[in-house]
């Protein structure tokens, strides 16, 4: 029985991309939300 290939670095990179992108997008949304709600008042 072979042991699985050591690919844990790619695993971390993959999830860093997933979480990073979602986070950046949400921050970007908030960034666009705040000025417009300020401008409204």
């Amino acid at each position: 029985m072979d042991t699985p290939a050591n690919t844990i670095h790619y695993f971390f990179a993959g999830y860093a991309v997933i979480f990073g992108s979602i986070l950046i997008y949400i921050i970007n949304l908030i960034g666009r939300f705040m000025p417009s709600s300020l401008a409204q008042s």
């Binding site: 029985m1 072979d2 699985p4 290939a5 050591n6 690919t7 844990i8 790619y10 695993f11 990179a13 993959g14 999830y15 991309v17 997933i18 992108s21 979602i22 997008y25 949400i26 949304l29 666009r32 939300f33 417009s36 709600s37 401008a39 409204q40």
Partner: protein, 235 residues
């Protein structure tokens, strides 16, 4: 632009809980794949992100049709939101796919039908954004966006088909057992559970972000109208 609806707050919480559960499931519950090891775990969210991206583009095409029929600016906001979210998640799908491909196919990039189609989709919707940017009048911007969202979405299956006829090495994990595709694997029941759960969780994320994005669009339109009013008063 009223207060944040209660249903949205509830959706926020459900989405958060589902997402965290999905992460825990992928990290700890799903078994380690025998050949590929840890990197296989990228697969769950890779497919889920692709699914979310497609949902976004589908929403934009449907909203495009509805806008052209009803002329309600709300549909334009929904379509625009769909494109934006679709692009973010499709990009995640492409990059994670590339990270997965490096150890398994031994290359960052191949001209496989799905990869190529996903990339062409990003280009189509980048063109969509450029088109919207180039038109100032809101009504015309909405009409053009709707038309292009429809045309772009219809072209996707044909693009996929045309590249498919060149052969593929992409593993087809669901619904086909093609032993020739490198990196294909059989899903154990636990993997299947985590996979399905990720799809559900990402669908919730999509719905949640879409809702927020639509509210943002409504707010931005409102501000734009106010500005135009102020300008006309000033003159």
């Amino acid at each position: 632009m009223g207060q944040k609806p209660k249903a949205l707050t509830i959706l926020d919480w459900i989405t958060g809980i589902l997402f965290i559960t999905a992460i825990l499931g992928v990290f700890f519950y799903a078994p380690l794949e025998a050949v590929m090891g840890w990197v296989q775990k990228v697969f769950y969210f890779h497919v889920a992100a692709g699914w979310t991206g497609m949902l976004g583009f589908l929403v934009s095409a449907v909203a495009g049709v509805l806008y052209l029929v009803k002329k309600d600016p709300r549909w334009d906001r929904i379509g625009f939101a769909g494109v934006e979210i679709g692009m973010v998640f499709m990009l995640i799908c492409i990059i994670t796919g590339s990270i997965w491909a490096r150890p398994i196919w031994n290359t960052w990039w191949t001209w496989d039908p799905r990869l190529t189609t996903a990339t062409i989709m990003e280009l189509i919707y980048a063109a969509y954004l450029l088109l919207r940017q180039g038109v100032e009048e809101p009504d015309r911007r909405a009409r053009f966006g709707a038309v292009y969202a429809i045309i772009g979405f219809i072209s996707v299956p044909l693009t996929f088909l045309s590249i498919r006829i060149f052969r593929t090495i992409h593993p087809v994990v669901i619904g086909s057992n093609d032993p020739g595709a490198a990196g294909a694997f059989d899903m154990t029941p636990r993997m299947m559970q985590v996979f399905m759960f990720s799809l559900v969780a990402f669908s919730f994320i999509f719905a949640d972000i879409l809702w927020h994005r639509i509210r943002l669009g409504a707010l931005a339109d409102h501000v734009e109208q106010k500005k135009i009013q102020l300008q006309t008063w000033g003159e």
